[in-house]
Amino acid sequence: MDLSSINPVLLIASLMVSATPILLAALGELVVEKSGVLNLGVEGMMITGAICGFAIGVNTGSPVLGFMFSALCGALLSLAFGILTQYLLSNQVATGLGLTLVGLGLSSLIGKPYEGIKSPTLQKMELPLLSDIPIFGKMFFSHDPMVYFSVALVAAVWAVLKFSRAGLILRAVGESHDAAHALGYKVVRIRMLAILFGGACAGLAGAYISLVRVPQWTEGMTAGAGWIALAIVVFASWKPWRILIGAYLFGGVTVLQLNLQAAGAKVPIEVLSMSPYLITITVLVIISARGNHGAPAALGKIFHASR
């Protein structure tokens, strides 16, 4: 085996690309869960975002418009989830699972005419000065704009949750909706906004797969990334920066296993293929074993002002 053929600079650069969809989706779900809502429909919103973004990208020739539309579609789908769970008080777990099934079916319906078509893709954005730094420039600063956007979004979510009044209110709603309600905050409205944000992020995540990473449309192309995103939220103990770590770790192991195969590592390929999932589960178990890991107290609980 020739490990020297694995170039760490390129490895890190490609793990950032491979992790971006999970990062975006997990970040959206973090905000949703911080408001006390569990939306298991991430996969469905992602794949719908993937096809909507792809369709608009192909028809207008503009990937940026594609991304914007994918966020809109993801948000629309999550709106259905929001109305069902927040106004009609349906069970969040069942509704979320249903949303995934709807999204998968809807996307393959919309996607039929788009199979086998090439789409416009985002160009790499070289940042002046930063991209010229040796090693680090190539590693961190020679990506497409969505990679920078996803990292910036992590910082923004972190700052808003930690320092702003809006973040405080969101967390209050997620910890105790009754107390927040008693203080006069509109619990349902705040949660709806969080759900819409989560949907938009999932839509962007899907479009990143269909417009940048592949770039092509195929049925079921998100291939379970939405579920990984859900696991990453728990993995991260509901902390934005840890989402970044979790997503990059998962993306890193995924990319690394392909690189190890290409380098001819003497490890059974079946083991390499399952390694990203194994490592995610292992870390989840370790974190859970530590006890209190910061789940919002009202997560998944139904709120109604009369109760």
């Binding site: 053929s5 694995i6 170039n7 390129l10 490895l11 490609s14 491979s18 199979e115 086998g116 090439k118 893709t121 797969i209 990473r213 592949v214 770039p215 092509q216 195929t218 049925e219 192309m221 291939a223 995924t254 990319v255 392909l258 690189n259 195969q261 290409a262 380098a263 001819g264 059974p268 390929i269 079946e270 293929s273």
Partner: protein, 358 residues
């Protein structure tokens, strides 16, 4: 219970009718596809064959197809459904449908089945495949000549004889023109998963491969190579001309139309028999897509000469001396491989590193 009797009687009725269906005007032909018809590769070409059958026979034939059918229990259900709805002839177009095809064929003795790339035959199951390895020989030759890093990446799907034959054939012919060439093989364990194929291509490119051969069906590796800028690829199963003239410099094209038309005709005439067909460049089942101008003229001429020799049978893609990976002798000087060994090929030839996963 009621529903079960209903199903059983429906099955009985369908069975009774499928025997007489030949006497009717319309012959119904079913196709089971492993990917979407728009994959731009393997399934796309099978679907072109289906459309050719429709064009050839017009009103006398009705075709039905089901795409993205998983290889497993689902496939059996799809085939049984087709047989129940009156299909006279069913083409199952992926290696993984082998056992399901045999199982379903047992239940419907009057329906004819045709399984692609497999080796299990029955009274009403024919097998057919193309000698893709002849095309791989041409690819290997061009790859060996064109690689500057001497590293060729190979995205393999499943460790089955068809795929292993392709790797061996490509390697032998690359090595012949470039003794320093090395193959990096990544097993994707899928026929069609664009995200995974793209990642695999990316990993190979990052490790210095400047030629990518693929035995998976989507165009995602082509897109990855195009983005990298200096990587050569070949169209797989279909021409993939939209990525030419570079990175795609040539391709293997599967042409199933003549076979599908001939077999449908045989069913119509009542002359259908269980056969085993394995045709290559000579019979036209395998075609080499146009070699683009990105290939140097002398390499292109050599490649075309190789194609011509394979076509007229003066050269066999597996001609000795060839040793197996462990160094033991396989083919002596001038000896050519027999079809039995090729059909069940489960070893690498000498020089390829790594193990074939089980």
């Amino acid at each position: 219970m009621k529903r079960r009797t209903l199903l059983a009687s429906a099955a009985a009725v369908a069975l009774a009718f499928s025997g007489t269906a030949m006497a009717e005007d319309k012959t119904k032909v079913g196709f089971v596809f492993v990917g979407p018809v728009g994959d731009g590769g393997w399934t796309y070409e099978h679907n072109k064959g289906r459309l050719a059958v429709e064009a050839e026979f017009g009103d006398k034939v009705e075709t039905v197809f089901q795409e993205s059918v998983p290889e497993g229990a689902d496939a059996e259900r799809v085939m049984a459904q087709m047989a129940l709805s009156g299909a006279d002839l069913i083409f199952t177009t992926s290696f993984g449908y082998m056992d399901p095809t045999i199982n379903v064929a047992k239940k419907f003795p009057d329906v004819k089945f045709e399984h692609a790339t497999g080796y299990k035959q029955a009274d009403n199951v024919s097998v057919y495949s193309a000698r893709f390895y002849e095309g791989r020989a041409v690819q290997g030759h061009i790859a060996g000549k064109m690689t500057k890093t001497n590293k060729v990446g190979y995205i393999a799907s499943f460790p089955i004889p068809e795929v292993i034959r392709g790797i061996n054939s490509a390697y032998i012919h690359a090595k012949r023109v470039n003794p320093d060439v090395e193959f990096s093989i990544v097993w994707a364990y899928t026929w069609f998963d664009p995200a995974k194929e793209a990642d695999a291509a990316q990993a190979l490119i990052e490790q210095g491969a400047d030629v990518i051969l693929q035995h998976t069906d989507s165009t995602a590796p082509q897109a990855a190579a195009e983005a990298a800028g200096n990587v050569v690829t070949f169209g797989q199963a279909s021409d993939m001309a939209e990525f030419g003239p570079f990175p795609r410099v040539s391709s293997i094209i599967d042409d199933w139309a003549p076979y599908y038309i001939a077999r449908t005709q045989a069913v119509m005439d009542g002359t259908w028999e269980s056969t085993s067909t394995w045709d290559g460049i000579g019979a036209g089942m395998v075609a080499i897509g146009e070699i683009s101008d990105a290939v140097p003229a002398d390499v292109k001429d050599e490649a075309l000469a190789l194609v011509a020799a394979l076509r007229d049978g003066s050269y066999h893609a597996f001609t000795g001396p060839i040793n197996k990976q462990d160094g033991s002798a396989w083919l002596a000087e001038g000896e050519t491989a027999d079809d039995g060994t090729l059909a069940g090929m489960s070893f690498y030839v000498e020089g390829i590193t790594g193990d074939i996963p089980n």
